[in-house]
Symmetry: C2
Subunit: 245 residues, 2 copies
């Protein structure tokens, strides 16, 4: 059960663009940086790319993680203006570069793609807007919980202990996604682990019971630990029964 909420450019679409170049980027490399003119849009073939903004004081906020099949660099498409975000590779990546004018031609001739782009942008606008609400309305605990829920929707894989979030993200990365600091994430994740809501299975987070987890975000909840003594019984697949809050 791997959900992906992002429409893609099909291979046929790509094929219709001439003069495409695919290049490799090393981990840590920038595909583009804020302050440079946006002359291309990009399609990620392999790897993971972090799209983030940077404040003058050096604080960063991750706006979007880009995964294979997704397009990025769209936001600066209209105006030939400077980019306002950074696109940095979290691992070694393969990226297809499409010159802006070519892409615009493509749009002009095939409305279906234009509509796809619109959908993609709408989706991101929705997500970023939602994050904005999150950051201002919720405390850091709920923000982290909601982030994990969102991640589980996008990268969740069912396993015997619940839903496994199939992406490796450091606490720092999680923190930058919800506008909090690394230590807070560590603490909160620790609490959730201690209280039996989640666990680690070789570096990946598993949410035991989605319903119980989602109940945590309901305001005015007691948020009592579902397990408050001893370790969780991983062996019993039915252990999350009766947890409905």
């Amino acid at each position: 059960m791997k959900l992906n909420d992002s429409p893609l450019l099909s291979h046929e679409d790509i094929a219709r663009i001439s003069a495409i170049t695919s290049s490799m980027y090393k981990k840590g490399a920038f595909v583009f940086q804020a302050g440079t003119p946006g002359k291309n849009i990009y399609l990620l073939n392999k790897g993971r790319i972090k799209l983030y903004r940077l404040s003058p004081t050096g604080k960063e906020i991750t706006q979007w993680f880009c995964f294979p099949g997704e397009v990025f660099g769209l936001a600066e498409l209209p105006s030939n203006k400077q980019r306002s975000i950074y696109a940095q590779c979290c691992e070694n990546c393969e990226v297809t570069t499409i010159p802006l004018n070519q892409f615009k031609n493509l749009l002009a001739t095939s409305p279906e793609i234009a509509i796809q782009v619109i959908e993609q942008l709408s989706l991101r606008l929705k997500i970023v807007g939602n994050t904005l609400l999150n950051v201002t309305a919720d405390d850091s605990r709920s923000r982290i919980i909601k982030l994990l829920i969102r991640l589980s929707k996008r990268f969740g894989v069912e396993c015997n202990n619940g839903i496994l979030i199939d992406v490796v993200l450091t606490h720092k990365e999680l923190a930058d996604m919800v506008g909090t600091c690394r230590q807070t994430v560590t603490t909160m994740i620790g609490d959730l682990k201690r209280d039996g809501y989640i666990e680690y299975v070789n570096h990946l987070i598993v949410i035991h019971s989605m319903s119980a987890f989602e109940a945590l975000t309901i305001p005015g909840q007691t948020n009592a630990p579902i397990v408050n003594k001893g370790p969780v019984q991983y062996t019993n697949p039915g252990s999350d029964r009766g947890l409905n809050i």
Copy 2:
């Protein structure tokens, strides 16, 4: 000097859509609400509309203020899913309703409009993304200052005392735009007034010197008042000279 950073649908574009209805909405009325299916997109002809998200606890965050000539309700265009934001009239408004399918047809036949929509969405994504960075990286003071700068870019009118922000917004509304509380806005605005950076001219904010004001957002600045004794000399149009920090 009235800047408007939003591309519009031209009247010709509108004319090409049949079955358009224009309706009036009273102040406080909702054009649409979160949780309802998004079946139309809208064009604001007259008035002002607040697009905001609401947290379960009742806290709201304004994502966008819509002014005459602007399109709204776009973000839910793709999926026929539920809206996630509220569109509420700040005053009596006249709104043109365009059914989604009609609009999609329009898009399919005229790529220029599609591109305009893409530009509009990109712009908003940029702004919301920027707000997100703001909210997480800056303290409430800089957030408010930056908000005023943004507003002055969009609604600024030059006057003899500087730039007048030609929109009436309550402190609560300002607070909801930057994710802070009303009292903080009142205090900060008060400080800025006392220190001579801004003043009120019949309920509208005037920024005296843009350069001095923008310098306030530079981190590590002393932020000394530009006038720390007595009232500002409004009569002298050259009084903002020599304020370059």
